[in-house]
């Protein structure tokens, strides 16, 4: 009986493994392949609105790869500017999140248990409430007759409202606000495991606090810094909601361009090629994140 079971076991495992495996292959891997395929086709007034790559002319099957969409991305400077600007905005907002999030994660990690749980929950809570609503909250604060301008005018600091909404400033503010918890949580998870005796030892041996921070705490929390930064940087490059609601007409971000190509211009092939280039640009960071995440899981 046991023998029969052991024989059956590998196939059982195979069956169990194949359920999530197949799901992710069908709904994650194959969709990327289709995006790649459609990025080589042309727009057509049809349902679905693109041409087929494979056609039969005089009984021969022809495969037409149309590089026009990629050429278009190269020649129209709008796209290059949008990619560069997205990466720039993502980079600086990641840096800002790190500068604000690190001291917060550090402080939480150094408090004692009941207070620590409360502080941690207060960080998680906003990230559980609607993303859209948290971005929306800033519109009422930043707009011309909004709370911040009204407040500054009533104090007599300014006479006319400052243009705050629909600027790059508002976009940075919104991104840092919305993504800060994603920076703090992995940093906290890392810092809380830190052996603080190392710091005491360093200070006993005469190291200044800043020096022990730079030579002990910072290198030991590298894993948390990488996880947090990737969790902010990669999604922000493709962010749509924040540049759309808080940004102005000159806030070029590639996620918004993709959305407009798809929904406003109904140009599925160009939207696909925009997505393919974005994925290629993000491939490095995504692989770094994956490898890192797997190492965390392995340990």
């Amino acid at each position: 009986m046991k023998h029969a079971l052991q024989l059956a076991l590998p196939s059982g495992r195979f069956f169990i493994t194949s359920i999530p495996f197949l799901w992710f292959i069908v709904f994650l891997l194959i969709p990327f392949a289709i995006v790649f395929k459609i990025s080589f086709s042309e727009t057509a007034i049809a349902v679905p609105p693109y041409t087929s790559l494979v056609s039969t002319i005089n009984d021969t099957i022809q495969l037409t790869l149309n590089l026009g969409n990629y050429l278009y991305l190269l020649t129209d400077s709008l796209y290059a500017a949008a990619y560069l600007n997205s990466i720039k905005i993502a980079f600086f907002s990641t840096l800002l999140c790190l500068l604000i999030g690190y001291p917060m994660a550090y402080a939480i990690a150094r408090t004692q248990s009941p207070l620590r749980n409360l502080l941690l929950m207060l960080v998680v809570l906003p990230s559980w409430t609607s993303f859209l609503i948290r971005v929306y909250a800033w519109i009422g604060i930043l707009k011309n007759n909004g709370l911040l301008n009204n407040f500054l005018i009533s104090l007599g600091i300014i006479d006319t409202p400052l243009p705050l909404l629909h600027t790059n400033f508002a976009v940075y503010l919104g991104i840092v606000y919305a993504y800060l918890p994603f920076m703090i949580l992995p940093l906290y998870a890392n810092l809380v495991k830190m052996d603080w005796n190392l710091l005491d030892a360093a200070s006993d041996l005469g190291a200044r606090p800043w020096k022990s921070f730079l030579t002990i705490t910072l290198p030991l929390s590298a894993a948390g810094i990488i996880s947090g930064s990737m969790l902010v940087f990669i999604p922000v490059v493709g962010e749509f909601v924040i540049p759309d609601l808080l940004g102005g007409p000159d806030t070029l971000m590639i996620g918004k361009i993709l959305w407009q190509e798809f929904f406003n211009n109904r140009d599925w092939p160009v939207a696909s090629s925009v997505a393919v280039v974005m994925l290629l640009l993000l491939m490095g960071p995504i692989l770094l994140f994956n490898r890192h995440q797997n190492k965390q899981i392995q340990n």
Partner: protein, 281 residues
Amino acid sequence: MKAPSRSLFTLLAFGYAFLYIPIIILVIYSFNESQLVTVWSGFSTKWYQALFSDDQLLTAAWVSLRIAFLTATAAVGLGTVAGLVMTRFGRFRGKTLFSALITAPLVMPEVITGLSLLLLFVAMEDLLGFPHGRGMFTIWVAHVTFTTAYVTIIIVSRLRELDNTIEDAAMDLGATPVKVFFVITLPIIAPALISGWLLAFTLSIDDLVIASFVAGPGSTTLPMVIYSSVRLGVSPKINALATLIIGIITLIAIMTTWFMLRVEKQRKKEMEQALIAAKSQ
């Protein structure tokens, strides 16, 4: 251990102020009588009444709730299996690809996930005639795909924490793997399943971008309604809706944390009692 300095706590206080002041302002102004959101003219709950007589909003909320419920349930099932595969099945061919596929949705820009899934559904309909059109079913598939990643991470970290000696012992005593899973593993990871379910639920109910790509006529979700209203400007009705959502989520979060702490305490107590019993024998 030295206590952290006072300046660090000042910084922490500023950080929390930054995270909470916009939300608090939003809540306060949902009780504003005036149509103008930023000018206070008196206390009123009329925007909440307006909310409950808005049919479009209520319909969308019902759609979102149903999708979120079904998404969370499926994601916990799929995530549990994926978590077991990652932690208890050792090495197998394709494991690198498997774990890459699991972690990718955590960071994948939503516009890419949304576009790629829509193109898949269109291609599937073309080829197989299924799914016919797009609607709640396609949103559900898309949501299960991206929320399962989060659920799996939660379950994996829970399974890692546990040592599997209890499972091994049960297996040595002749329990079948299926029995071991249902009698031992499942009860121990139950708290992770609950928090995974809640996270998947909130992620699903919150999603605007992916749902916008894969939705069809008649499957407008709540974020889609909020978004089109927000684009037209700030309205006190949206503030009222936001306040309700924030209130419900805060309540759920507090209840879960309390429940989790209690379960954890109970488990520790039982472990200690078991140890004492074992020693006294």
